[in-house]
């Protein structure tokens, strides 16, 4: 394992940064203000082949390694967290198919996702089942060659703009969420499906977070991912990998806030000198930079372990997401402090970044859930029984 990025990684970063600086950053404030999904930027990312990096070439993707996928997300998030969710959720929604889907399912759906023709969403969370995934209630009842889905989902990122969903529902309610849940591919033009409402949010405001309802939605049994009852396992395996995208997003948000802080501090004059000449500000900038770099390196270390199929993957991805999410919150908060009053108003991007940063401590497992995952792995290594926790 090399600790230095390859030439290809550097090239990718340069390419995405140019695109993000010139085309995405100038749109970020308006996306935040209007809370409208940036369809134009989705088209741009699709055109530049940036929605297919997690897919194999035979499916129209570019099969980049996981570090490269993190760099992609990071560089977009540095300009706009909302837009970075487009590749993030494209991978999140597709992971159940990538991990457990049949060849037929992969051939049918992945090319349309890789090209960006279709968007996908990951529909797991319910109103009463957030961190407690096993408390899911949505049902999928077998009826001949079909399953009939009934129930609702909440907090589904891109749920209202997706063409297809990976949905988790109970096929054996008696067995409960852990043993009785299965995963399905549901096309959103299926009768009975609706996305009646999107949330009004503090951050990532251009990314629609939708409530989804399923009223006798009929899905062919060929759209079940994996075996009956494997839903919980598939969901956990997905999240073990996808939360790394959130770590990368958090690193990107932190870097964007740091860059804005350095730029402002070296431009703004108070008491006859540049703000960056004050040692107190220099210390803040140094801390922000070192913390961001630490989060980035842990994220890459975890990413390398995804590709190496490390057996203790959850330990690494949860640690990375935990550290990066907290770093993004701290660094963006400090960025607002460096900019002072200007940091608090929408004329500068850091207040938006601070609002955007908060979500990285909440979604794809709250920071508390990440600590639970890390602690369990830690205790298991020490031979301590963790079944009761």
């Amino acid at each position: 394992m090399s600790y230095l990025p390859s030439t290809e990684h550097d090239e990718l970063r340069a390419m995405v940064r140019e695109l993000a600086d010139e085309q995405i950053a100038p749109r970020a404030a308006a996306i935040d203000e209007t809370a409208e999904f940036p369809h134009d930027l989705k088209e741009l990312l699709a055109q530049q082949d940036l929605l297919g990096t997690c897919f194999e070439e035979r499916h129209g993707g570019t099969a980049l390694d996981t570090v490269a996928q993190c760099i992609l997300v990071e560089e977009i998030a540095r300009a706009d967290a909302t837009t970075s969710l487009i590749p993030i959720v494209q991978k999140l929604g597709a992971l159940p198919i990538l991990l457990s889907g049949s060849e037929e399912q992969k051939d049918r759906y992945l090319p349309r996702l890789a090209s960006g023709e279709w968007l996908i969403a990951f529909a797991l969370t319910e109103a009463a089942a957030g961190s407690d995934v096993a408390a899911n209630r949505m049902r999928a009842t077998r009826d001949g060659d079909d399953y009939v889905l009934n129930g609702s989902k909440r907090f589904i990122t891109h749920g209202s703009v997706a063409n297809v969903l990976t949905v988790f529902a109970l096929t054996d309610p008696q067995a409960g969420g852990r043993k009785g849940m299965s995963a399905f591919i549901v096309e959103t033009d299926t009768p009975g499906f609706a996305a009646p409402r999107v949330e009004h949010k503090m951050g990532i405001r251009g990314s629609p977070t939708a409530e989804l309802t399923f009223d006798d939605v009929r899905v062919p049994s060929g759209n079940r991912i994996g075996q009956d009852g494997e839903g919980f396992k598939i969901a956990m395996a997905t999240l073990d990998r996808s939360r790394l995208s959130i770590a990368a997003q958090a690193v990107g948000i932190a870097q964007g806030a740091l860059d804005a802080s350095v730029s402002y501090a070296s431009d703004r004059t108070q008491f006859g000198q540049r703000v960056s000449d004050f040692q107190g500000i220099q210390w803040m900038l140094a801390d922000m930079s070192a913390q961001t770099e630490a989060a980035r390196q842990l994220t890459y270390a975890a990413a390398a372990r995804v590709d190496a199929h490390a057996p203790d993957l959850p330990y690494w991805t949860s640690s990375a997401k935990l550290v990066a999410g907290d770093t993004a919150m701290r660094v963006t908060t400090d960025a607002v402090q460096v900019l002072g009053g200007y940091g608090y108003i929408t004329e500068y991007p850091v207040e938006r970044m601070m609002r955007d940063a908060k979500i990285t401590q909440l979604y794809e497992g709250t920071q508390q859930i990440q600590r639970l995952v890390v602690a369990r792995q830690l205790l298991q290594r020490a031979g301590v029984d963790t079944r009761g926790s």
Partner: protein, 260 residues
């Protein structure tokens, strides 16, 4: 129909430019890019390839070995292959020497259209396209805001004082285009990946049948001095005054310089 786009690698627009003792540009450690005005020529060529007017797009550059990076970048945007003419004897080449080398390389590549940007961002001589056309004895269609090729002739749309002209000439031609062509495309990820596998040849002067001795130091021009532009006087700012008072101060300032 075959297009050869001539491109030049130049220091990044915002780079800190320094000179060596013999008044040549010091390229060491300076970020290098495709001459921004050449990117419009690339875009024009690729649009002609996209709409089927051009069958092949080749890039040609003369420069040090590191200029191959600019050619790879161009190949990432599109096109088929590239040629770099590099030779130690070409250090310090001026517009005349450059035109001679490009003309010889174009003789070998035999394109229908040799397409160039209207100027280079570093030297801004704007002499090379005309010199290449003269040396090859082919028509020059310059400063096009659009290039069209059909029926054995090339046409450029050129802005004029009263509107625009269409200027046509039979193929082969040398043509230059302006930034009115349209925004150059971004290289896509697959484009960047594919560019690594596209053919990029390196030619020496010998490969072009040119005599290194004849070209070496044979520049027709000599750089006698090079210096950064003189710094402007510091900006005076009038701030925190009521508008009427501020306007009066500006008027006084202009009047003192007999500008009003």
């Amino acid at each position: 129909m075959k297009i050869v786009v001539c491109i030049k690698q130049v220091p990044a627009t915002g780079a800190d430019k320094r000179y060596t003792d013999d008044l040549r540009l010091d390229r060491a450690g300076v970020e290098a890019i495709i001459n921004p005005l050449d990117e419009y020529a690339i875009e024009q060529a690729l649009r002609l390839a996209d709409d089927g007017s051009a069958d092949a797009v080749t890039y040609l550059s003369m420069g040090p070995e590191q200029a191959s990076e600019a050619l790879r970048r161009a190949l990432a945007m599109g096109g088929d292959d590239a040629v770099l003419v590099t030779d130690p004897a070409l250090a310090g080449a001026d517009e005349w020497a450059t035109a001679k080398v490009l003309a010889a390389a174009l003789d070998k590549l035999a394109p229908d259209v040799a397409l160039m940007g209207m100027a280079s961002d570093d030297a801004r001589g704007s002499l090379v396209p005309g010199a290449v056309a003269a040396m090859r004895d082919v028509p020059l269609l310059s400063y096009g805001s659009e290039l069209a090729v059909a029926g054995g002739e090339a046409r450029v749309r050129r802005l004029s004082a009263t509107g625009f002209d269409w200027i046509a000439a039979p193929l082969p031609v040398v043509a230059t285009v302006t930034d009115q062509v349209g925004e150059p495309r971004y290289a896509s990820l697959k484009g960047i990946m594919a560019a690594k596998r596209k053919p990029l040849e390196t030619w020496s002067l010998g490969d072009l049948g040119l005599d290194a001795g004849e070209l070496s130091g044979a520049a027709l021009t000599t750089v006698t001095d090079a210096r950064p532009p003189e710094a402007k006087a510091p900006t005076e700012r009038i701030e925190n005054l009521p508008p009427a008072e501020a306007a009066a101060k500006i008027a006084d300032w202009l009047a003192a310089r007999k500008l009003i």
